[in-house]
């Protein structure tokens, strides 16, 4: 049974402060013991364009938006048309509108939601330092059932630096909001917060990626800014130095990836973060990482593609380039976090894989996870990261950097190791690294590079495998949370189905998959892109049992749990039928 959550959209023009209101609401809810999340949506204007804070507050952990919004509070209606499709409402949704800002636009009224008028601007103006977004915060906090005192305390803290007038104005507005909310009937309420509130974190996917990188041992970062990956870098830049690391802002992405390879050759685990256009510039460097067996982690925070595409919106659209975007036979690692919290674990894991396997590891995050915040349980962080196999003792007499080994992993001497001197090379080479065009050397090295990936023990992290039944839903990345919610609902309707959320996209692990799908008769592949990239990839690399169905649509619209549920219902018989 699905515990109750409340979804709230706060919209307004730039400068209206919707993001501040949203963040505070999430924070207050978290302090009161709720879980929740908040995503952001912006218009195309560089500054001052319309914006929406998209929240969900719940008694259980949530990292994906619900089907529809229970509350839409508009500070004003600036360009709401551009957002409307991202904020679906239902018949019992509550629109909170400021009558001074004009009538509620018709585009929002399709489902005949309730409308409550609150004169946000007028209430704010009651205090010379009042602000409409603080009135809005008060209204929303009251509606979802938050207490006023902690809210006052929080606002007081936040505005303290701006002087007494600002604090007074903020608090007055907050109070007006709480008061105004009293008039709203039948407010949507999240279920009660769980009693056993352990330590919780309020973290964005991009922050989690940064923290995972640090836990994985990353101590060198070189990158070039790009939306929506810049946050990862901006979070890391001031923190790396305190761990003895360094960040270099590179002149472009070609430089970034090659700086990382250089630092990594020196023995320092290295990472760059980018998005589609920058990622495509790293292709040649990644190939060099593969051929020279130099570890490197590349985080691709995906956005709408192709080309410059839709820089500020999410899409799961770089799977194919991540797996196949290198010339030649160039096996490497591709990992996709399955949620905001998993950005931490997956990035840490990817770093360990890159080091252990001496190869590039790509982390496919996306804007929906990266730029959203969630309230999560304190993550259990792996202590030990896998590390690079060094060269020592007898290996250093006649050192062979690219020695053919059973497990495909060769000893890697880093500069400073006497006897380990060698020249790493992207030209095909013999075991010593000396360039060679001979078929035998080429075959041996190609095979070694493939073998090391194939033989490695990835443990259970390769996928989140849950549930049972004859239908399996395979998905990846930010769609995972949505599919999981859909399958929970399905379970509520008596429908059994499995979830396979692939964390290890490449290499493919056919035996693990076969075990996970044993007994399946139908497979449904869910993802957020136009061409069904995971679906095609799975068919190329796995033997999936039974009928294979694919369902996907491109960004920027999020996939909603109800959409997935509908697909599941069409394919999965209810329990009683299944018996028959």
């Amino acid at each position: 049974m699905q515990p109750r959550s409340v979804s709230i959209a706060v919209t307004g023009s730039g400068g209206a402060g919707v993001m501040t209101a949203g963040k505070l609401l999430l924070d207050l809810a978290a302090r009161a013991g709720w879980y929740g999340m908040m995503a952001r949506s912006f218009g195309p204007q560089i500054r001052g364009g319309e914006a929406a804070a998209l929240l969900r507050i719940a008694s259980h952990p949530v990292q994906n938006p619900d089907d529809r919004y229970d509350v839409l509070l508009a500070i004003d209606w600036g360009n709401i048309g551009r957002f409307a499709s991202e904020i679906p409402l239902h018949g019992n949704s509550l629109i909170i509108a400021d009558p001074r800002r004009g009538a509620v636009p018709g585009i929002l009224l399709g489902e005949r939601p309730r409308v409550a008028e609150v004169p946000l601007a007028d209430l704010a103006r009651e205090n010379p330092h009042g602000r409409a977004n603080m009135v809005a915060l008060g209204v929303l906090a009251a509606l979802v059932g938050l207490a006023e005192d902690p809210a006052r305390e929080r606002i007081g803290q936040m505005l303290a630096g701006r002087g007494e007038d600002a604090v007074g104005g903020g608090l007055a507005s907050l109070r007006s909001g709480f008061a105004a909310a009293a008039a709203v009937e039948d407010p949507p309420r999240p279920g009660a917060p769980p009693a056993d509130a352990g330590e919780r974190w309020n973290i964005s996917g991009n922050e989690a990626t940064g923290l995972g990188a640090l836990h994985g041992g990353i101590r060198f970062v070189a990158a070039y800014p790009i939306t929506p990956a810049t946050d990862v870098l901006e979070w890391l830049a001031p923190r790396l130095p305190s761990l003895g690391g360094a960040l270099v802002q590179a002149e472009d992405e070609l430089a970034a990836i090659n700086m990382c390879l250089g630092a990594s050759y020196g023995g320092t685990p290295s990472l760059t973060a980018t998005s589609g256009p920058g990622f495509s510039l790293m292709s040649e460097g990644l190939g060099l990482g593969v051929a020279s067996e130099t570890p490197v982690v590349v985080v691709d925070v995906m956005r709408g593609g192709p080309s410059t595409g839709i820089p500020t919106k999410s899409e799961q659209t770089d799977l194919e380039i991540a797996v196949y975007g290198l010339h030649g036979d160039a096996p490497h690692v591709v990992v996709a976090p399955t949620g905001i919290d998993d950005c931490l674990h997956a990035t840490q894991w990817a770093t360990g894989l890159a080091e252990a396997l001496q190869t590039p590891a790509i982390v496919l995050s996306d804007q929906a996870m990266g730029q959203a915040r969630a309230i999560i349980d304190r993550p259990a962080i792996d202590a030990a990261a896998a590390s690079r196999r060094g060269a020592s003792g007898p290996e250093l007499a006649q050192y062979r950097r690219y020695a053919i080994t059973d497990d495909g992993i060769s000893p890697a001497a880093v500069p400073g190791t006497p006897g380990g001197e060698h020249t790493a090379d992207g030209l095909e080479h013999d075991e010593y690294g000396t360039p060679s065009a001979q078929a035998g050397h080429h075959f041996a090295q190609l095979d070694k590079r493939r073998r090391k990936l194939a033989l490695f023990d990835y443990g259970d992290r390769w996928a989140d495998v849950e549930g049972d039944g004859e239908l399996a839903v395979i998905t990846w990345g930010s769609s995972t949370q949505v599919v999981r919610e859909a399958l929970d609902r399905a379970a509520g309707q008596g429908i059994r189905a499995r979830l396979v959320a692939l964390r290890l996209i490449a290499p493919a692990l056919p035996e693990r998959m076969a075990a996970a799908l044993a007994g399946c008769r139908r497979v449904l592949v869910i993802e957020q892109n136009h061409d069904g990239q995971l679906h095609r990839y799975l068919r190329g690399h796995y033997h999936l049992p039974g009928e294979i169905h694919a369902w996907h649509h491109p960004g920027p619209l999020q996939i909603r749990p109800a959409e997935v549920l509908q697909q599941v219902l069409a394919l999965a018989p209810r329990k009683q039928e299944a018996i028959g």
């Binding site: 978290a30 302090r31 902690p150 060198f220 360094a246 090659n258 250089g262 020196g266 500069p415 400073g416």
Partner: protein, 279 residues
């Protein structure tokens, strides 16, 4: 080889790999000069890293016995930058050709001059793409018609790498000649000793695709004496005949270093994420 015995010889820095270079290629002289410089500095082999791109000249690292990375075309400088930043204990030298450095790698050249990381960049300039069998490079004369890719020559004035380096902010700018390994070794030694980005353009003839460059040895002459005055350096370059060797410009500038910070641990970093439960 970790101890740096005082009797270290240039040949101690060579490897057993036989160069693919054509007999008579200028790059042999550069290899000699480089190993001489390393011997003169008595730096431990394992503490040196040579980073190169792709080209005949970029094959150099494998012919030495130090650490090396033969990377991809045009990207030696970023790779060397990453290594030098992550491993300031190493002596990092980037090497390659004029195509590698000034055509595909031009942007990194600009930014390496500006960033001023402590490393040395030795460009073997033969005014041609040797490895791909003789096309015009950025330093090729406008009317050189030796490649059918540019049947009437490139049709534009050659790039002047020393001017670019100076304009881009480099603080150590020199020109050497592969036919004078001792003089070149001296320049490389000083370049490695310079705290920051040291750029050395080496005239290194390609006897296969530019056989007329065999004549360079008659035209090369010493001439540059180091100045620390940019104005003076620019003025000298206005009169440059492209064959003057020596250290043109040497001025110490702030070396780029990563941000320094007090040590922290991961727990204290993560503390910022903790939700403060309401009282």
């Amino acid at each position: 080889m970790s101890a740096t015995a005082p009797t270290v010889k240039p040949r101690d820095y060579k490897s057993a790999v036989k160069p693919v270079w054509c007999p008579g290629c200028g790059d042999f002289g550069v290899l000699n000069a480089l190993t001489k410089a390393l011997a003169a500095l008595s730096v431990a082999r394992e503490k040196v890293a040579l980073i190169s791109g792709i080209g005949c000249s970029a094959r150099l690292p494998a012919y030495t016995g130090v650490y090396g990375f033969h990377g991809i075309h045009g990207r030696a400088l970023p790779m060397a930058t990453g290594l030098a930043v992550a491993r300031p204990d190493l002596t990092v030298v980037a090497t390659g050709g004029d195509g590698d450095g000034f055509s595909i790698g031009g942007n990194h050249f600009l930014h390496a001059c500006r960033r001023n990381i402590d490393m040395t960049y030795v460009v073997m300039d033969n005014a041609v793409y040797g490895m791909t069998k003789g096309q015009a490079s950025p330093t090729t004369e406008a009317d050189w018609d030796g490649s059918s890719l540019t049947p009437e020559g490139p049709g534009m004035d050659p790039v002047h790498p020393l001017e670019i380096a100076l304009a881009a902010g480099a603080g150590f700018i020199a020109r050497g000649f592969s036919g004078d390994p001792n003089g070149l070794a001296e320049l490389v030694t000083r370049g490695i000793g310079y705290p920051g980005f040291a750029f050395i353009q080496v005239i290194s003839p390609c006897i296969t695709y530019r056989p007329e460059q065999m004549e360079y040895k008659h035209r090369i002459h010493p001439g540059f004496e180091p100045t620390a005055d940019r104005r003076e350096a620019f003025l000298r370059l206005m009169d440059d005949d492209y064959f003057t060797t020596g250290l043109l410009y040497r001025k110490e500038r702030p070396v780029w270093r990563p941000v320094a910070a007090d040590a922290a641990n991961l727990d204290s970093i993560a503390a910022a994420f903790r939700v403060q439960a309401a009282q």
